[in-house]
Amino acid sequence: MDDRADPDHDLVLRARGGDEAAFRELVERHQERILRLAWRVAGSRTEAEEIAQDAFVRAWQALPGFRGEARFATWMHRITTRVALDRREAVRRRERREVGVEEEVLAGLAATPEAAVEGDRITARARVALLAGLSEAQRTVVTLHYLEDRPVIEVAQAMGVPENTVKTHLSRARAAMREAFLRAEAKHRGAVR
């Protein structure tokens, strides 16, 4: 991707050199979008703020290695999703939960829309469980397209890849999620018997 196509290019260059004021400007530019994404992945506002904060700090630390293969916004997007997945893993380890991906997926599907906050949290957990089974590229296209409602052409521009590549990733991601669902269902049926 051409660096100059990124509206954040100059700020990123300065922030890479350790300019905190430039990084603050980047935070202010992207905070709303990143918080919204974190909220959609995590399902709770408190958790979303923590994820977004962690994501920005992680981005700051990793900035010297950022080569601009994709736009800064897309890179932040990837980091945010990664942070959300890492937190999920950390919680699972801390709580020593033996709940598998399948159970989380089924619980998420069973949660009724009326069960407002708790329902959101459960469906979010199911979403994260499904996203965890995808590759980095698949996860990025799924979150950009389905969670941020961005059309395929915009996702392609943001990632610096052709539209057909995005379509392929989406198709494979859906297939992987379908398989995870079918596995969950089969396991559930086995448990009921």
Binding site: F23, W60, P64, L109
Partner: protein, 203 residues
């Protein structure tokens, strides 16, 4: 039946048809009569429902969010720049023995030594049969070289010992192509830093 087959149904599914608003009756009709495709359609719809259940996220950012981030940033050092692959390090950045070991000649010598050790029994056997093959090789070399030396003088080609000596004198010429390849390799391995990539970091 709808006239649809499973392959067409799966192609439609892979293209995201089931995620789009409103299902096409033909595909749904096919799924109704095919348990495998029905299971796939149900899975696709379930996943779609999971992603569609995302409520509108709050638009406003909590006050002081950027301050909180920057307070943590101030305590978090940036990771050092990882030197891009293939960028040569300064000559004095490594101990002498590492630099020597990394030279192509040293690598080639190590490979050769490894081969000698590995093939020691065969080489010994080969050396034992030297009297037989050396005579044949000498004869082949002199036969090949003699026409080249003809202009120098017919008398050179008469003594087998002189002929063999002249042939051996030409052997170093064989090393020339190898040296040329080595020089070419040196030229190709000269890597420049990509524009915008620096080794610097913040103070």
């Amino acid at each position: 039946m709808s006239g649809f087959d499973c392959t067409q149904f799966q192609r439609w599914l892979e293209a995201g048809g089931a995620m789009a608003e409103g299902n096409v009756p033909a595909e749904v009709a096919h799924a109704a009569g095919c348990p495998d495709c029905a299971a796939l359609l149900a899975a696709e719809r379930a996943v779609a429902a999971l992603f569609a259940r995302v409520e509108a996220a709050p638009a406003a950012v909590a006050p002081g969010f950027a301050d909180r981030v920057m307070a943590r940033v101030a305590l978090a050092p940036q990771s050092p720049v990882v030197a891009p692959a293939l960028v040569p390090l300064p000559a004095d950045a490594l101990p002498w023995w590492v630099r020597v070991a990394a030279r192509p000649e040293a690598v080639a010598a190590a490979l050769l030594a490894g081969l000698v050790v590995l093939l020691a029994p065969q080489l010994l056997g080969f050396a034992r049969s030297a009297p037989q093959w050396s005579g044949a090789a000498l004869s082949a070399i002199t036969t090949a070289v003699t026409p080249l030396l003809a202009p120098i003088g017919a008398h050179v080609g008469t003594d087998p010992l002189v002929r063999a000596g002249v042939a051996l004198a030409f052997l170093p010429l064989a090393a020339l192509p190898s040296y040329a390849l080595y020089l070419l390799g040196l030229q190709l391995s000269h890597v420049r830093l990509a524009p915008g990539v620096t080794q610097g970091r913040r103070a």
